[in-house]
Amino acid sequence: MALRAPKLAALALLLLLPLIAGAAPKKLVLLFTGDNGGEVAPCG
């Protein structure tokens, strides 16, 4: 019985590690345009 706790803990760690790794920050880029006003050949 004494061995069960460490084994469970090890299993939990094994199973949870990918979840912890998956909790890394998610990175993304949002690109925005606006007020284009029909412009197709901007200059200046």
């Binding site: 993304l28 880029v29 606006g34």
Partner: protein, 307 residues
Amino acid sequence: MPVLALDAGNALFKTLADGQDSSAKPRAELVLEQLEAQGYTAMAVGQRDLVLGVDFLKKKTKGAKLKLLSANLVDAKGQPLFPASVVTMVGGLKVGIMGVSPASGDGAAVLPQGIRGLPVGPAVSAEVKRLRQKEQVSLVVLLAAVPYVEAVKLAQGAEGVDFVVQSHDGRGVGMAQRQGVSTLVPPGERGRQVAKLELSVEGTGPFADLSEANRARDSQRMVEANITRVQERLKTEKNEDTRRSLQETLTSFEARRDALARTAEAQGPATGRTYLLTYLQLGADVASDAAVQKQVERVEPPGSAGH
């Protein structure tokens, strides 16, 4: 890195009188076609997108991936003219994108006959609540094709919206500004810039701006370079007056360096939910896509008034 391209609206026509200009329609058609071709996910419907009416927009975007959004535009019978939002997965994150248009009776905006703009605030609140509770999105972006004053009010009070991207007044570039509950982002104007918002999302809560810490670190590096130069001169300088002056300069630079280091440190490490806003300038130094350039020159030949 996963990318989501969005347009805050007022993309298609220069003025409300453009309906009389024969060259305006092909330009608007080309802009819509290119938004689709370049993989834009959504665009808010602004007053300057409605110059040729709702039918023109619907016909040109039929079957397109690009979604035209407005949470508050309705027809004469009160029926919504466009979807209020779209939900998409980007980089493992569920993102809700909403659009909002000017309200009828807003002195700063004019809508064509037969189109009504419901009050902006309640329309946004209802949709963001649905996105957060029903769709369980992690991020909400509001494309606000409304006058700037109205967009500020939205950013101050629209609980659940992370970013408000405003178009209407052609305000151009600027800094992202935290306004109450969300951050107001200027998207640039007239095809001259693209606003690039780099996000790192971990957990919940408000987004922190990384730019201040980055500016402080950049300045710190420049001051450190100046400190090195002054120290080098001090090694060889024999004149006592000059040495005293250099020593004072060095002390001043060191104080500045320490202050900048404190500013950078106060922003903390780049964890949690952070953003960094920069602009890509679409100047002459940016290469044009040859196929798109041909299409542009078809509707606006080189040397023409608009070119």
